[in-house]
């Protein structure tokens, strides 16, 4: 028997196997079943979980302290602080981080928490908006998000539906040189390993969060850019509508989970 004949006999079997794999992939793809949905906290090591749970050991709390100072600092042409309008953040900001990105009527599209803070600075304080990923913006966002710890992520309102759909489309679209979609890792293969790291479900419960790899606090937009870079895709720029749509889809996908900002992640 020549090798060509063997090949001819082997290939039909291979083709069947490939079809089988494709069919299995089609069945598995899609949303995570509600019973399986869990915070990425549960996939971390016990040591990292303990670090997050202890406010004395969680480095994100250093930023929250900075954020509290900024909350009470008078700023801008109006000479007003956040506290002058919003009062006690513990009461006024509770639950806010659990329902952002939210629909902004003036722009007729959703904005995330960082954008809300900067719009507030611009219009109500007449202060210069903070730069993306600046310590100030991260700190103030972390302080606001901290007030929602334990609050379940809210069901978005109806006006956001088209934007959630757009975010979902990006999440499920194959992109970059590796032709990967977000969904292939985070819907289909969560809990398995990518090299040494466990693939999380990718629920943004604790942003801005302290990532040990970054040795700093970072926003969800930074994380998304980071992931796209890893996929060898062109990352969206900070503040791009696509970034916010992705954030919104991820929050919708995580609805019902409790927020835990400032989270610690590996």
């Amino acid at each position: 028997m020549t090798s060509a004949m063997i090949r001819r006999q082997v290939w039909p079997g291979m083709t069947c196997l490939l079809f089988g794999l494709v069919a299995a992939a089609v069945v598995r793809a899609g949303e995570i079943a509600p019973a399986d949905k869990r915070s990425d906290f549960s996939l971390m090591s016990r040591e990292t979980q303990a670090m997050q749970d202890d406010d004395m050991a969680n480095p994100g709390m250093l930023f929250v302290l900075d954020g509290e100072t900024l909350w009470n600092r008078k700023d801008g042409g109006e000479g007003r602080s956040c506290a002058d309008c919003h009062g006690d953040a513990g009461a006024s900001m509770k639950g806010v981080a659990a329902r952002y990105p939210a629909y902004e009527v003036a722009l007729a599209r959703p904005i995330d928490l960082e954008q809300r803070i900067n719009r507030c600075r611009d219009s109500h304080q007449r202060a210069t908006p903070f730069a993306w990923e600046s310590t100030e913006l991260l700190a103030l966002t972390a302080f606001v998000a901290r007030q929602s710890r334990g609050v379940a992520i809210a069901e978005p309102d109806d006006k956001l539906k088209p934007f959630i759909a757009a975010g979902r489309e990006i999440f499920e679209r194959r992109q970059g040189q590796l032709a990967l979609s977000c969904s292939q890792c985070h819907d289909d293969n969560w809990g398995r390993r990518l090299a040494g790291a466990i693939i999380p479900q990718g629920h943004p419960t604790g942003y801005p969060l302290y990532r040990l790899e970054w040795q700093s606090l970072g926003s969800l937009q930074r994380r998304l850019r980071n992931c796209m870079f890893g996929m060898r895709a062109e990352p969206y720029s900070y503040g791009a509508p696509e970034q916010v749509e992705l954030e919104l889809y991820l929050m919708w996908r995580a609805r019902g989970l409790a927020t835990d900002s400032p989270a610690v992640r590996p």
Partner: protein, 106 residues
């Protein structure tokens, strides 16, 4: 240097072993990295930490570039008498950050 979080028990029994936890914000720049324009970023780390209990050194640490940003340290000492516990961190720029905590020993 800026924010620090310290945890020293307010009260302890005489002879009790107490845990002191500290967390401080610092970049802990190793000195081995370069900026986007290729310039070396100078080393800037906290290089020394000292804890004194009523003036006596009870814990001291030397820190090196392999230690991550925002270093967390926890250690134990024996509660001997009421007084002041002083924690100080010194970095490469010579800046020292000091925090104090009162402890009552019964």
């Amino acid at each position: 240097m800026a924010q620090a979080l310290i945890n020293v028990p307010f009260k302890a029994r005489r002879g009790e072993i107490i845990e002191i936890k500290t967390l401080i914000s610092h970049v802990m720049e190793t000195g081995y990295r370069r900026s986007n324009s290729g310039e070396p970023i100078p080393r800037d780390i906290i290089n020394a930490f000292v804890c004194t209990y009523n003036g006596d050194v009870v814990f001291r640490a030397e820190l090196f570039p392999a230690i991550a940003a925002n270093p967390f340290m926890s250690f134990f000492t024996v509660a001997t008498e009421s007084g002041v516990i002083t924690l100080s961190w010194t970095d490469d720029k010579g800046a020292t950050e000091v925090r104090t905590a009162k402890i009552t020993v019964e």
